[in-house]
Subunit: 645 residues, 2 copies
């Protein structure tokens, strides 16, 4: 019965039994609860490491992409409680984002439009936190849209999206958003090649006219905005560029991206393809070679070239040609195991890990060796676009066999220690990238894509926690139909003992791809807005309705629990502009604003002013009310908009 | 140091210390973890009651409204893990809901439209589960939209929305969705009174022309649909009807709703109101009387009246007048403490609890006494609309003082035991509604609205778990900007010991109002679709592109990890119809479908076929790809739509 005594917990049991104490426990004893719920001692250790009592706060906060939900998901570690879905590319009514107020309508429907088309979703992939000296500073989060190439800025004072920029030359992207060590630039790399222009170019001209690119978005920390006029792109070969990373410390000034389909295989499978009938599908044709290319781009040189005007404008956007980049020693390729997913720079900036998903090894490149080859102009050859190729063998620090489907690497606080996700193995490997040695593996459930460690891609990772971003949940949770949640598994990676799986967290909305984890105390969010920040603010006592011709301007205030004014009469056809100021100062006292039939919902947080505009195009009676349960009399917080014929 | 020994856990500590074992514990000992994380023994008891190890499933599943997010939120108990956000009134791209496929576009943009206006959000309030003999049967979930009166059907085989019906006469509602004990009808009661017609009616005619109503939506379990042609409404006075409930067992055949603003106070506060300037705001004027009215509606009689054609059609919809209802002894009022929020029928159907939010008492009505008065035609008087009023005193079983702001009541498995939320007190009261006695209170954080107990509004509640749906989180979680998550607190209500607070769960999106909790094993969701269920299914080997004039039909299949066909060329101006069948049979193997610039994203679950339609209105190169990380080669699952000029 007692077997080998593994830890103090088991000992306690034995002592209790020996002491004859079991009989005396009451209905709420820990042992009985554990028995009833089928919990082992290992489970209780895990429970103790994650359980966060009412009112206690988390040590870390994760920002995860929402994938095709178009959002960013914020959750706490170790509690694995989801704290907020930040709306970015997709309208969301609870946050009043894209449901009538001037500010968010401008972001989604003006800034977010492409070629005159409104896009009301995004495929968010890679969130990046703003950095100062290669450390997270907690000020901004950036996120990309793979489906319709765009980058968004999220202000971490308000946890809301404040800007979207549309990429002027790409038709698909993936390697974004990644920041330089001081957030001067946000990097966006294309994925599926396409012509930079918007016209039809047949696939027979793929090699000549389809292109990859990397856009360097200039960020102004002072304005909290991307400055489109100071941003530019670099032309790249029509390989499928993949994930990117900025150099740090030793490698600062360089940007790296890897790629797949250096075969330039296009025009695959099936009857739809009249020109290429019965060829292999893309997935096979694109992975027929053994290697693809790691791209090295010297950002500092690219910036100089941009400043010197050495670019062509395409769709009004400056693009530096490959030719110019090559001539200025600013673009290089190095072979890497085929179909990799990510190049991850270690804290010192010297080592770059790359995992070919179809290889069992992780490759560790040495930036010093790469620079030595570059400085000596020692090239192995050139690709079809004349880009110099460095020797893989001479660039490598070495390779380590970790398992099937290695994908993404994060770094530990301990020198040389890294963690790599193994998609096919469904496991995480802990290994030493200096000594090139596998230490241990832990199984996960199932098919891990990316992973994230505490501050794991900064210059000083924290260790402690690792999260596996699993792509399949299968049987892990109560079934909720054919579409399952994703599963993020929290793993204890603190030093001195083997990795331990602590917690499964389902993601109930969206399909996260990538996440970043920041120390919670670096975030300094606002509790309330200052009323004076808003030009349309309405002061208490100054509520009014002003008519000028057929334009009616309503100046309203909200406070627990009434609108002022509560009755508004207009005429059919009137243009209504409605300013509302939430006068509350109390924390968490948000008021809502919705009007029947007008597809409007505002979320007015303490101190905030929003403006709504609509044409009163139907006569009738239109109740409006507060959609937030704001007080015991919240149901009474309502009024009527009356539209006379 | 040892103080009073409270439980076995503390004893264990003492024994350990006494045994000198503390020194021998390793780095992972439970005690050290507890110390590091500041956890008490009480915390560990709570942790043990909620911690659900990897792969273990929950005992209960909660369906919660998402409030103004327009969704239904599904989570497990006791783990308090959120499993899914079901899209209902708001488009959501991850689920491919409202992003191009025929089925969901029809639900949102056709069925969901009102008076020709597209409404792309909802204010979901009260989910109801389908019942058989007043027990949850796990087949369907229904949910209302308060902002734009609508009711939706969610099929619990697929956990997806399958129907939206728009209320033809209401302009605002609240008391929905509630089902009859065998789900023959789904009840929807209005809230803010308005004319049934869509024309302008001035507020001076409020008493005469504004009305409340209750709609009885006929549900066909066989078709899984609301049958609009078999549904009807009952006219009610222009009080603000509030929450509703169907009678069960003894009271089956009756429907109850309470109300506020029986003052009919309208036209309040502020400068906007030219006719009623300087009156009290609505929140004050609507709560000036001491009582409002509990409404009793005899559904069985109403159904007969409907079948006999004793209605008028308004906006094409049958409405039974108050006059007809009164004449047929099918509509009564009983005074209730003012501004209540909900009337909750106990498991036997005999007792109804009502809480006036501005009173400190909960009132327990006795259905037997009410029926005695009705049968004796013993009325206390009539309201201005001639509705008979029953005596409150003679209808009451009694009242109990529970605390400030009593709001919502749920029932326990133990006879006579109920739980009532106290909004102002921020507490939950456990009390006996038969003996009319308060048992105990537990504080919550903060301002609880509704609450939900395990199967707590069925004929046989389970006890065990109670969840407080708190409206404010304030300082409970790491701050994420001025807009906080809501907080659902799990409370242990199992018999034999005081209530214990177990867990705080933030709601990261939406503002839940009401929830229902079902035994998890009653749910029988689908793992995959059968391909043959879809009329547009594409069989493997039968992929093709068919052109008829300027209409191009693409018949595509998807399987790990390619589309077939992968290249599609059309001409500018072509109408494209694109059928896609996911050939996967593996659990959780969803594929996505997005095209650059077309605002399309599909979620094709195993076996599912979806159809997308668009006009190729711009020439150019449009990559499409799978938005789900479906295999190690998912990035290669892509193709090109080429549009020739």
């Amino acid at each position: 019965m007692f077997g080998k005594i593994r830890n103090s917990f088991q000992l306690v049991f034995i002592i209790m039994i020996a002491s004859g104490l079991f009989a005396s426990v009451n209905a709420q004893s820990l042992e009985e609860i554990m028995k009833t719920r089928g919990l082992s001692q290992t489970d209780m250790l895990a429970a103790a490491k994650t359980y966060t009592p009412s009112g206690k706060l988390d040590e870390y906060v994760v920002f995860s992409s929402g994938g095709q939900s178009g959002q960013v998901i914020v959750y706490g570690v170790p509690s694995m409680r989801i704290l907020k879905y930040i709306s970015v590319f997709t309208p969301e009514p609870w946050q009043g984002y894209g449901y009538g107020d001037d500010e968010s309508m401008d972001i989604i429907y003006k800034q977010g439009s492409i070629r005159g088309k409104e896009i009301t979703w995004g495929d968010t992939h890679h969130p990046a936190l703003s950095e100062t000296a290669a450390e997270y500073d907690g000020q901004y989060c950036f996120i990309n849209d793979k489906a319709n190439p765009r980058v968004a800025v999220i202000d971490l004072k308000t946890f809301s999206t404040t800007q979207i920029v549309a990429n002027p030359i790409m038709k698909n992207e993936h390697g974004a958003a990644f920041v330089t060590p001081n957030t001067e630039y946000i990097i966006e790399a294309s994925q599926i090649p396409a012509p930079f222009t918007n016209d039809y170019v047949p696939l027979t001209e793929f090699n000549e006219k389809y292109r990859g690119a990397m856009t360097m978005w200039k960020f102004s920390r002072k304005k909290g905005k991307i400055l489109e006029e100071n941003s530019f792109s670099v032309e790249l070969p029509p390989y499928c560029q993949d994930l990117s990373d900025s150099g740090k410390n030793m490698s600062e000034g360089w940007v790296f991206t890897n790629s797949f389909n250096s075969e330039r295989y296009i025009g695959g499978f099936g009857p739809g393809n009249t020109k290429f009938r019965d060829r292999l599908p893309h997935e096979a044709g694109m992975s027929s070679k053994d290697t693809d290319y790691l791209h090295m781009i010297h950002l500092d040189t690219a910036i100089k070239l941009f400043e010197q005007g050495k670019y062509k404008k395409i769709n009004g956007h400056p693009v530096i040609s490959m030719e110019t980049m090559i001539a200025n020693n600013a673009l290089f390729l190095i072979p890497e195991p085929k179909s990799p997913h990510g190049v991850m720079i270690n804290p010192s900036g010297q080592y770059l890990t790359v995992s070919g998903k179809l290889d069992t090894h992780v490759s560790v490149y040495d930036f010093k060796k790469m620079m030595k080859l570059i400085n000596a102009k020692e090239y192995e050859g050139r690709d079809p676009y004349n880009v110099p190729i460095l020797s893989m063998t001479k660039s490598l620090h070495g390779q380590v066999e970790l398992g099937l489907g290695p994908l993404h690497t994060q770094y530990d606080s301990e020198k040389g220690i890294a963690y790599t996700s193994l998609y096919v193995d469904s496991a995480i490997a802990r290994w030493d990238y200096l000594k090139l040695k596998l230490i241990e593996k832990i199984p996960i459930h199932y098919n891990v894509g990316h992973l994230v460690a505490a501050e794991g891609d900064t210059a000083t990772p924290d260790g402690k926690y690792l999260i596996a971003l699993n792509k399949l949940a299968i049987d892990r949770f109560t079934q909720v139909g054919p579409l399952h949640p994703q599963n993020h598994q929290l793993i204890d990676i603190s030093a001195g003992h083997p990795m331990q799986l602590l917690y499964d967290m389902p993601l109930p909305l969206g399909e996260p791809h990538y996440a970043v984890m920041i120390k919670a105390d670096k975030l300094k969010p606002l509790i309330r807005y200052k009323q004076k920040w808003f030009k349309n603010r309405v002061k208490p006592g100054r509520e009014r309705i002003v008519r000028e011709g057929n334009k009616v301007t309503v100046h309203s205030t909200l406070i627990r629990s009434h609108y002022s004014p509560e009755i508004i009469e207009v005429n059919k056809g009137d243009e209504v502009v409605w300013h509302l100021t939430n006068l509350e100062r109390a924390q968490d006292e948000t008021h809502g604003f919705s009007i029947y039939l007008y597809n409007i919902n505002g979320s007015l947080e303490p101190g905030e002013t929003s403006t709504f505009r609509f044409t009163a195009d139907q006569e009738g009676v239109f109740p409006f009310y507060c959609t937030e349960f704001c007080s015991a009399l919240h149901l009474e917080m309502m009024g009527y908009l009356l539209v006379k014929p």
